[in-house]
Symmetry: C2
Subunit: 325 residues, 2 copies
């Protein structure tokens, strides 16, 4: 039995959305049991199969106004902190939370930091145009970075793609404003030189923004500020185009509207940010899935699916290519 | 007669593509004459109406391996430098070049810098989801920036949208990784405070990457590294989705393929990066349009169209909304 810890508080949609996700998981994965951190009464009333559920009761959450480091010491009952404390024990394959990113990072550093690492980073696995996936790292956990941090991200991303996607020598690219090695801000130019000399990294050089998801690299390295832009901008642009197609379909009406909606459904499956948008924390001793604040039941179920696959040494998504190529 | 200076060298497609653009301009705008900087013989053989063309002969160009500052002193015959020298005189409404960005910046600083400014910046005017346009600044001219530079970009962008798009108090947003004022890298946090206190700026706060082109602001401020990501990532994502629709159409065949191609045509018109992708240099004494290296005749014609509209105090695109809303 795989034990997965889920922080049921922290979703913008409320605890019931997360608990609905827990139900999907228990229904689908018979070899999974759950440790739910949150309101005991709510969980008990939810109709879950309690024979496979352990509850750690708390109703305390962290707000966007709390400083995560201060909160860690002053509010030990916050669900995220309790979930990480539990994850630091044996007998679990990882943790899922849709809570505050800062609190997740603080908890990971206190409870789960790999001793050889400076701090964990957050990766996102995004579909690329070559039909595969690109690991974008960091997506926002470390906003101001040094070059040595970026190099660490390169190693973490490369190892992750090697072990979970079974890619022999993952191609690592560095996000920049031009392909030439002389292009980039100070941080990128410095990092470029170090990665170039790193014999453990299959460095393929600078990658420009328009090629971020082209499939030219398996790991795309950047600081958390830039990575956040790539992630959110890609999503924003996808939403813009999809909205435009819906409008066009409605204006046209009839059979054309039908085809437009088919295309929208296809694109939404290909660029399904709810499935793919979960962040994966790298550099921690346990797998941590950070779902978005807006996550619903499906996102929680998908995060568990990834944890189970990793625990069973399968490639993520079972090698199933979501792009249908 | 409006005189427009065009650097005919510097396009990846060769001088003939730019000269074809010059032909489009002369055909369409009877009140425009051109000063073409480039190979005299080639221009003379091209069949242009030479009664409205002045030629400044040179065949020298700058390469990506040249340092633009050194080249400025060592290679005075480079077409970009000669074009800017000409632009610094009276009797012209601006300059169009598809050449090297670094060389454009150096030339602008030497020949056209507004005395009150530190250095010019490059803006891009992008279609947004609200049916209007957002001025993104800087798009890559200044890669490592200080907060005072970002504040200057805010003023330049705000003035531009006020005078050319006739927007009374342009809403200025600051690109960040979160909406809250506490979110951002060091540079963004510092800039946020200054913009907040600037009574000449209608500051609407931080804008996240997924809202970059939502229409929540008229001017989106960021350093050139981040701006380059927004610009290229938006384009890359649009290309990805359009490619996906084409593939879907081909796979479906028949009537569905027809509708898919109609949708593609609609999206390509809405997000027409060849038309809209030209950079506009702000903070110089003359209007400078930087077309992409890959620009063809149409991009050059569109750049001239913008210059004429600005010279005649019309809004850009004659207020015609390319999104058809």
């Amino acid at each position: 039995m795989h034990n997965i810890i889920i922080d049921t508080l922290g979703s913008d949609k409320g605890a019931s959305a997360i608990i609905d996700g827990a139900k999907l998981i228990l229904d689908e994965f018979q070899n999974v049991k759950l440790t739910l951190v949150g309101d005991e009464e709510l969980v008990k009333k939810s109709g879950l199969d309690l024979s496979r559920v352990k509850i750690i009761h708390t109703t305390e959450t962290i707000t966007n106004y709390d400083n995560p480091v201060e909160a860690f010491y002053k509010k030990p009952n916050v669900s995220i902190f309790k979930a990480f404390e539990e994850a630091s024990k044996e007998d679990n394959i990882g943790l899922i939370s849709a809570g505050n990113s800062g609190a997740l990072m603080v908890s990971a550093i206190r409870y789960l930091l790999d001793e050889k690492k400076t701090r964990p980073c957050m990766a996102a696995i995004l579909p690329n145009m070559a039909g595969g996936f690109t690991c974008l790292v960091d997506t926002g956990a470390s906003i101001d970075c040094s070059s040595s941090q970026l190099v660490e991200f390169a190693h973490l991303g490369s190892d992750f793609m090697k072990y979970t996607y079974k890619i022999d020598a993952p191609r690592v690219g560095l996000l920049s404003n031009g392909a030439e090695p002389t292009k980039g801000n100070k941080l990128v130019k410095e990092t470029h030189k170090i990665l170039n000399d790193d014999k453990y990294i299959n460095f393929v050089g600078n990658i420009e923004g328009n090629a971020a998801l082209s499939g030219k690299c398996d790991v795309l390295v950047c600081d958390g500020f830039a990575g956040n832009q790539v992630l959110k901008n890609s999503e924003g642009m996808a939403t813009n185009l999809i909205t435009e197609i819906v409008k066009y379909g409605k204006k046209s009406g009839g059979a054309k509207e039908g085809v437009a909606m088919e295309i929208v459904a296809h694109l939404m499956q290909t660029y399904d940010f709810e499935s793919l948008g979960a962040g994966i924390m790298l550099g921690a001793r346990k797998m941590v899935m950070k779902c978005r604040g807006s996550s619903g039941a499906k996102a929680i179920r998908n995060a568990a699916h990834i944890l189970v696959n990793i625990a069973e040494n399968k490639t993520i998504y079972d090698g199933e290519d979501k792009r249908g190529n």
